[in-house]
Symmetry: C2
Subunit: 122 residues, 2 copies
C-alpha cells in the first residue's frame, strides 16, 4: 500500500470510530507515539503498539466525547498529517474542553511506525 492508501484507510477507520482496528492493522508492533507535551505523571513518548493501545484506552476511560471530527489526510512522501478536533469532558475534573490537534504519521514498510501530536497554540 502507498502512504496515501494507508492515510486514507487510517482516516476511514477512525471516522467510523474503529481506532482499535486502525492500530491493530496499520501500525507496526514497535510503533512510537509522541505527544507535544507530557501529561502529569506520564512520558510524552509511548513505545510499542500495546502501550499505545493502553494510552488510547486510558484517554477514552477518562473522557466523555460530545463531538469529534477529523480533517485530511494530507500526505507527502512517506508521511501524512490528520487533524482532530474534539469537544470532551474530562471525567475526573468535570472540565469540558475543546481540543484541536494535528498528527504527523510516518510510514515504513507499509506500517505506521510513528505518530506525533501537535497541539493548537493559536
Amino acid at each position: 500500500m502507498s502512504t496515501s492508501d494507508i492515510a486514507k484507510k487510517y482516516f476511514e477507520l477512525c471516522q467510523k470510530h474503529q481506532n482499535h482496528i486502525a492500530l491493530e492493522t496499520l501500525f507496526a508492533a514497535d510503533a512510537v507515539s509522541i505527544e507535544a507535551a507530557a501529561m502529569p505523571g506520564a512520558s510524552a513518548e509511548t513505545r510499542g503498539l500495546q502501550a499505545i493501545m493502553g494510552k488510547g484506552k486510558t484517554w477514552m476511560d477518562n473522557h466523555e466525547v460530545h463531538e469529534a471530527s477529523m480533517e485530511g489526510p494530507w500526505p507527502n512522501g512517506n508521511r501524512f498529517i490528520v487533524r482532530f478536533t474534539y469537544d470532551v469532558t474530562n471525567k475526573p475534573s468535570g472540565r469540558r474542553m475543546q481540543m484541536d490537534e494535528t498528527a504527523l504519521f510516518t510510514v515504513e514498510n507499509d506500517k505506521i511506525v510513528r505518530e506525533e501530536f501537535f497541539y493548537n497554540a493559536g
Copy 2:
C-alpha cells in the same frame, strides 16, 4: 525565540499578507522548501531563501487569490504545522480551484530551516 513564538510570528505575518517579511526575518538563508509533488518542469525541492522567495513570487504572479485562510499553528518540539486553504484562479489556464494544504516547519537555531507542504487527499 521558542519554536512556539516563531510559529505565532510566522502565522501573524502571513495572516497580514506579509509573507515576504516572514521569509526575510524568520527563515535561514539555506532553508529548504519541499512540495508534496513536483509541478511540471520544476523540482519538488527548492533550496535557499532566494529561490524560495522566487517560488512564492512565481506562484503569486500566476494566481488570482479570491480567498485565503490559515489555521494553527500547531507546535511540537522544534517543529510546527500550519494549515492553508485557498480559493484561487490559475491565470494561465483560467481554472479556478480550491487548495487545502498543511505545512510542516522545522526550526533550528531560531530560524526556520525547512518547510514541507502536504496536500489534502481526502
